[in-house]
Symmetry: C2
Subunit: 201 residues, 2 copies
């Protein structure tokens, strides 16, 4: 089976659940239902990894320290790019190297997604221009100001307008299940939700 | 303000969301509502940290590598002990040093909680004897076999019978909000859920 590579960007001040929610959904997805299939990667349709500017440890919000699996320099091709949010997005907005890397990775990716205030970073990279998008409710105004003609959806858990964006933190899991459903159908998404006991909205 | 120390056990093969769900809920809880209060620790009622047998890197399910903040030897007093689950619980069940540490930490803790198959570990430590408890649906039978007179609740998202146990993976967040509500009331729990956009059941 051909697996899709999922690259989740990590940086200091990334919100833990923004990263861990989609990570868990996508790493636990199996095309073969049940508990046994989760013990191996045999029917796993995604290879999910963290990627950062360098492979130095990253300190997420609340002090959780994560070791990125790849740096920008050594990351494999990314099919699904996920940009999480958190207070750490503010310095990222000013970081030309990271914004450039996102723009390049997005250009060759099949799909691009953000969780929470990760949408601000996608907007800064120009990826939300002329699209509908959402973000954490505390950043609706800021999101609109960071691109050209971004229509901010203030109600949706997630928006799929070519580029995928989710509302705050926990809604990244709903976005991830939407990705699973888009690629592999509702049965695979629902069975994975049942496996991790997540109540899809 | 006196903060409660929350120690979350980590080990190879811990499920990412079992750890990250309660971590996010408890680190984002603030007694002062709103977004600004989340930028500092001023009104944070919990100091949340990971703890492992040693401070060597831990590889969670799906390959996420986490650096534990404390080892058993250097961990401060723990008020709330959280034992997550995952396939990595199976070797932990055979690990006398870890089971002993859990028993000792639990004895001096205000509250003890497990997420998902973390309940198996609490059962092995004797902490669920003569109690109602729950775990991931795939491990109901195993849970009952690991202690004396454990009544397995097959319906609840979480059970609070002195010791707290949750059902699978994502339900650890419901357990964490229950802890917040128990300590600080429903308003603080609901406002924190609104902040991280989690839909409490």
């Amino acid at each position: 089976m051909e697996r899709r590579n999922v690259g989740i960007l990590v940086f200091d001040g990334v919100a833990v659940l923004d990263l861990a929610g989609p990570f868990e959904v996508l790493t636990r997805t199996r095309l073969e239902p049940g508990t046994e299939s989760r013990r191996t990667e045999e029917s796993a349709p995604f290879d999910v990894f963290t990627v950062a500017k360098t492979r130095e440890p990253v300190t997420a919000t609340g002090g959780l320290v994560v070791m990125p699996r790849h740096s920008f320099a050594d990351a494999p091709h990314i099919d699904l790019l996920v940009v999480p949010g958190g207070f750490g997005t503010r310095p990222v907005l000013q970081d030309a190297e990271t914004i450039d890397w996102i723009r390049r990775s997005a250009a060759s990716a099949e799909r691009v997604a953000s969780v929470c205030t990760g949408a601000l970073v996608l907007a800064r990279a120009g990826l939300l221009d002329n699209r509908r998008a959402t973000t954490h409710w505390g950043s609706f105004g800021l999101l609109a100001s960071l691109g050209h003609n971004i229509t901010v959806d203030r109600e949706a858990r997630f928006v799929d307008d070519g580029v995928l964006t989710s509302a705050g933190v926990a809604s990244g899991m709903d976005l991830a299940f939407h990705v699973v459903e888009t690629f592999f159908g509702k049965d695979v998404a629902d069975e994975t939700a049942r496996y991790i006991e997540y109540r899809r909205g």
